[in-house]
Subunit: 335 residues, 2 copies
Amino acid sequence: MSITIKDIATLAGVSYSTVSKALNNSPLVKSETKEKIIKIAEELGYEPNFAAQRLVSKHSKTIGVIWPTVERMAPSSLVTKINEIVKKNNYQMLLSIDTIKNSLETFKKFQVDGVIVFDEQEDEPIAALAKGLPVVSYGVGQDEDEYPIIDVNYQGAMKTAVNYLHQLGHKHIAFVGDFSPIDNRQFEKYKGFLKAMEELGLPVTRNHLINTAGLEWLDGYSAVNRMLQSAAPVPTAIIGASYDISSGIVRALREADFTIPKDISVIGYDNIPQMANLEVPLTSVGVPVQSIADRLVHTLIDCIHGQYKPEQDGPLKPVLTERNSCAQARKIQGV
Amino acid sequence: MSITIKDIATLAGVSYSTVSKALNNSPLVKSETKEKIIKIAEELGYEPNFAAQRLVSKHSKTIGVIWPTVERMAPSSLVTKINEIVKKNNYQMLLSIDTIKNSLETFKKFQVDGVIVFDEQEDEPIAALAKGLPVVSYGVGQDEDEYPIIDVNYQGAMKTAVNYLHQLGHKHIAFVGDFSPIDNRQFEKYKGFLKAMEELGLPVTRNHLINTAGLEWLDGYSAVNRMLQSAAPVPTAIIGASYDISSGIVRALREADFTIPKDISVIGYDNIPQMANLEVPLTSVGVPVQSIADRLVHTLIDCIHGQYKPEQDGPLKPVLTERNSCAQARKIQGV
DNA sequence: TTGAAAGCGGTACCAA
DNA sequence: TTGGTACCGCTTTCAA
């Protein structure tokens, strides 16, 4: 059995309720008494019983993160950042890689104070499952949401990327990504691209829209190979829809003896530091993970304290980080 | 406030201790009463209070996993498997990506029954930090360990790979991996390779030992490029020390216009299904993740029940999974 | 400024 | 078979 406040009380010659107050730094205890008690507690290596505390106090200063797909880079990067920020705010983070339903159940048992969800493509409506437990997600914001969704502004990011390339003189810009309409988040990048191109009056034919039908690097790789083998003229610039996809794009281009950025410019979505470690360090666009993580955690904490108001914060701002994978457009080959 | 056994007791017209027994399926309760109580509990959507239960019962049927490095493929694959097996054994899994020290603290608070550690390169001795909490790790077994380390038999895996290539007629086999002696696990693969080559009387010069000095795909990629640029004759086969490294190896070879396996054979360490999704599906070697996960979880559960005996299980068996990235050795180019 | 005591929601023992 | 009750370890009134 481990040390309890009663042990401390006995040693200190006070009642255990006094010990409780002292340990919680209550102003109701004389500072001498307080110091004495704290000293004894430290000597004994006292650790409060968490279960007992929560049986009474209800909150655990813990945030749960549900992350069902462990195998892509950008989320890994984000979850690492979230962990940092959670700690900075005196919370702990616990992760579950189970289904949303199971994870929520587990987290409710353990009485976490709130949950961050990484993936909402599940049948059951999260709000119903959460039942009172504060939940925050990210992706595409919608008005009807019953819990805050941090809008990472995919469309804004795409617009930034397209404008940047346009300023470099590019007109033939291709989008390489997964645009099955099932996946909200991916589809949003696609829509953002279309909109941005349209606003600038740039051409969008099927040759500019390369569907990877998947999110692994290999999907990006094969998509680009297909593009290169088609009869259509090669675009002067490519926007890759994610870190992993972009890594496949770069690989395919280099195998086909394209030099980046001399022969073709490439921008990758996902503003994570790992973009710099690719074969060709990639200029990337997107809300920096740090900002996403910040917003997620702070919104959740506000929810926990009942202080969250929709639209209290402005939209998240996508940033373009230059890394020399883009150059002035050259004469367009072919047409 | 949520439903408690007292609410149920009132409705059922029995005492709450009877409710407790009924809900725990005690044989001391008449089955009619039991059924009635269970029915009411279900109707009310009763969920036992976990904190209260643990304040009394001490164990949580939960296993914690400490996983400080979220960004490599093989561990991701393993953790996913562990989750499955943990569930199959009626436990839950919680993940922490914090430092070992912090994670252990968190897990102790939440009273998990045991912990699986993914990474022991930390200063503090884990056993001391765990203080009674059962811990299991994996990697290289050592006799002095104060907690079980599942030996994944790196040396055996290397031997299997080398023998396999040797039977195909290869004599010039290179090892591409990180062999800084600091990292026990990586170094063990290196030692296994050396030993296996020696046993077969195969030559090992510095041209056969390519140090990646890192574990990312890019490290494998650059290492192979360096190898190809050196004056030394190219080996007829390569063993890559991990999934990520092997992925870099394949990329570098293909860029240099080597056809796998016609021009060169490649085997990758890490027996994970993802090996099949590489550009060239790779023949791989290693204890299958399934077995590693199985052993980890079962050993831990034995420890939890105080039933673990060192050496109760034989060594884990590396398996070679063929995927056509190896062929009969051709005449050696050069020397 | 301190202490006593009533819970929090269960489990488990003992008595009826 | 059931009910009564003493904890588990802590927080939080309320009284002293």
